[in-house]
């Protein structure tokens, strides 16, 4: 089973996925980043600082909470929620941002850039940039700015400059293109904090490692509570950082089943979705080879999801590898299924999840009832849903007597 844990190889490859498909201008920096990151992994002082900020600033460890009412509601498996939404800034994104900003400081970089979709990574990046006193520019699709206003305001409060991206469709992939263009232009002084397990090597491995704190804690916490490992792990997958973070520490435990939930939009068959594995083909974009939504001529097509954070036509390369190896099962949940699960979680547990997270809960709704109570199922509650109030009001407004605008 070691085939899974020792990847990527020296060239950043997970099987045939991953790699460093970037312009020559970026290559020297990417190689330097790889060296710096390798050194940091083995540097006790770096690890001490990381642990300090994870604890006192982010608020880790996040609880592993037994969701008694959800368990009763579905009437099957025992459901545990890994409460990443309780982290500072309200999602798992900050785990990675803290790690990368420490690296940026170490490398002497003077400026931070990032892309964001739903705005959670943008907020987390703006937060750590403020904390470490670095100027910060966030690229965000114009379409996403419209549907994620609260996060736009948060980023501005935190001192970040928001650059609306109107090229392409004005969503996450276009924001990433624009961030890459900024990076190539300001390569000397700028650190690009990529928000997910994608991009050129070493980003997929580095982001995974920073997020793996989720899985490491879950492992310890479940052993404390139940004296054994969980039976299954469920997480939503856009780029796939919260899922990789939860899965990776269990990847060599064949008894632990892992389920990644892609955004099915209006349904994978409709063509209007963001399910790169279930509805895409291999290709090369944003520095890595992975599964992409694209036409037969290799032009990237638009993703569709109710959740801005999953609205990306690709997925991290390690997921593509785990998919082809069959180690992780990848399913999808539609917009409607996610909205339904969103409401169930609100009503049963008093927790308003992010719409991204609601996709994972939608899979729980399908799977948990078929399993016995002894089955221990962990769901990554990757983010809180405050940012989604406008979207949800738009979709469910009538039901709650909220006026649709």
């Amino acid at each position: 089973m070691n085939q899974f844990v020792n990847l990527p190889d020296a060239n950043g490859l997970f099987g045939s996925f991953g790699g460093r498909f970037v312009a020559e201008t970026l290559m020297p920096l990417i190689l330097e980043l790889q060296d710096e990151y390798t050194a940091a992994k083995n540097d006790p002082e770096f690890q001490r600082q990381l642990a300090y900020f994870q604890g006192d600033y982010v608020g880790r460890p996040s609880p592993l909470y037994f969701a008694e009412r959800l368990t009763e509601h579905f009437g099957g498996a025992s459901i545990y929620l890994k409460r990443e939404e309780l982290n500072h800034t309200g999602a798992h994104k900050i785990n990675n941002c803290i790690g990368q900003v420490l690296l940026a400081k170490q490398m002497g970089k003077k400026r931070i850039i990032a892309e964001t979709g739903a705005g959670m990574h943008g907020v987390a990046t703006a937060t750590v940039a403020a904390r470490f006193g670095l100027p910060c520019v966030i690229y965000m699709g114009a379409t996403d700015i419209e549907r994620q206003q609260p996060n736009v305001f948060r980023m501005k409060l935190l001192g970040a400059e928001i650059v609306p991206v109107t090229s392409g469709t004005g969503t996450l992939k276009d924001a990433m293109n624009e961030a890459l263009r900024d990076w190539v232009t300001n390569v000397d002084d700028t650190f690009y904090i990529i928000g997910t397990v994608a991009g050129p090597h070493p980003y997929p491995a580095m982001v995974r490692d920073f997020q793996a704190v989720i899985g490491h804690e879950t492992r310890t916490q479940m052993i404390e509570k139940q004296g054994r490992l969980p039976d299954s792990l469920v997480a939503c997958v856009g780029g796939g950082s919260n899922a990789m973070g939860l899965f990776y520490p269990f990847i060599n435990d064949p008894a632990v089943k892992m389920i990644g939930v892609e955004a099915g939009g209006k349904g994978v068959k409709s063509g209007l979705h963001a399910a790169s594995l279930n509805g895409g083909t291999p290709g090369v974009l944003h520095g890595n080879r992975t599964y992409l939504l694209q036409n037969e001529d290799g032009q990237i097509t638009d993703a569709h999801s109710i959740s801005a954070g999953l609205d990306y036509p690709g997925i991290g390369p390690e997921h593509a590898w785990l998919y082809e190896q069959g180690r992780v099962e990848y399913v999808s949940a539609t917009d409607d299924e996610a909205l339904e699960a969103f409401q169930i979680c609100c009503r049963q547990e008093g927790i308003i999840p992010a719409l991204e997270t609601a996709h994972a809960l939608a899979e729980v709704a399908k799977r948990a009832p078929t399993l016995p109570r002894e089955h221990l199922m962990v769901v990554n509650l990757s983010g809180r849903g405050d940012k989604d109030m406008m979207s949800v009001a738009h979709h469910l407004g009538d039901k709650f007597g909220v006026k649709n605008r």
Partner: protein, 278 residues
């Protein structure tokens, strides 16, 4: 040993003691027919080497001008197959002007690397510039292209340091494309002094001709840079002509007009500098 079109082209220019004018246009921009007319008229207008862009939906290394060109072409239905067909039809009338396809890896990867190289060689394509394939990925396309007799033109940039340069030059062929500034296409103009020393340094490590591109818009700039480089690449300025034209005829006229100006300037640039030196 047979020589390639690119070798013959650079050898002839050396005889004339002048740099090559390399033009960039995106295939299918603004539409298939206009793009065909633009392409066919380039040699007569004074272009020595043609760079033809393969449009891609997500051109990460390009500025707004070429981004928009790619979108115009894709909206007009341009495909990889149509781009290859354009070159094939061009070759029926012109067997001397080298054509280099420029773009991103994904459309080639999805077309199928072997199939693409076979079709490209058949169409009469001389070289490839693929922005997102650094030497670390030479086994993807660079090495297979060599087997098909297609040059793989490598980009060297201001961030390519001495330690890395041998790797960049390792499997390079055709010519070296020196990216004048760290940035995207169509950006600000580089300073000639810095460029000249960068090109001089490159020459110590390669026998291949050196082209300079990114940010070169005017005849004056082309002349200055053409004094010390083997080729000058102009792209965004030509693509802008298409964007600003009201009709296809006007686009053709403007593009070929600017090309003529640039051509005149690169033809005179070393003579002018000799006169100055006297």
């Amino acid at each position: 040993m047979t020589t390639t079109r690119l070798e013959r082209c650079f050898a002839a220019l050396k005889q004339q003691n002048r740099p090559a004018l390399v033009s960039y246009l995106t295939a299918g921009d603004p539409d298939a027919e206009t793009s065909r007319r633009l392409l066919h008229g380039l040699p007569e207008a004074g272009v020595d080497i043609i760079e033809l862009g393969m449009p891609f939906s997500d051109p990460m290394a390009d500025g707004p001008a070429i981004q928009k060109a790619a979108l115009r072409a894709l909206e007009g239905g341009q495909t990889q197959a149509k781009t290859l067909e354009m070159v094939r039809s061009f070759r029926e009338q012109n067997s001397t002007t080298p054509i280099v396809l420029m773009g991103y890896y994904n459309p080639i990867y999805c077309y199928g690397v072997e199939r693409f190289l076979t079709d490209a060689a058949k169409a009469g394509i001389d070289g490839l510039i693929v922005v997102d394939l650094p030497p670390e990925h030479d086994e993807e396309l660079c090495q297979p292209a060599a087997k098909h007799g297609i040059d793989f033109i490598r980009l060297a940039t201001p961030t390519t340091d001495a330690k890395r340069l041998p790797k960049v030059l390792g499997n390079a062929s055709g010519f070296i494309y020196y990216v004048s500034v760290a940035g995207v296409t169509g950006g600000s103009a580089p300073t000639p002094e810095r460029l000249e020393s960068a090109v001089r340094e490159l020459r110590e490590h390669t026998e291949l001709p050196i082209a300079v591109g990114f940010g070169i818009r005017t005849a004056e700039q082309a002349a200055t840079i053409g004094r010390f480089s083997d080729a000058v690449v102009v792209g965004s300025a030509l693509v802008d002509c298409i964007e600003h034209a009201n009709t296809p005829d006007e686009a053709v006229e403007r593009v070929h007009g600017l090309v003529s100006e640039l051509a005149e300037s690169v033809r005179a640039c070393r003579k002018a500098s000799e006169r100055q030196a006297c």
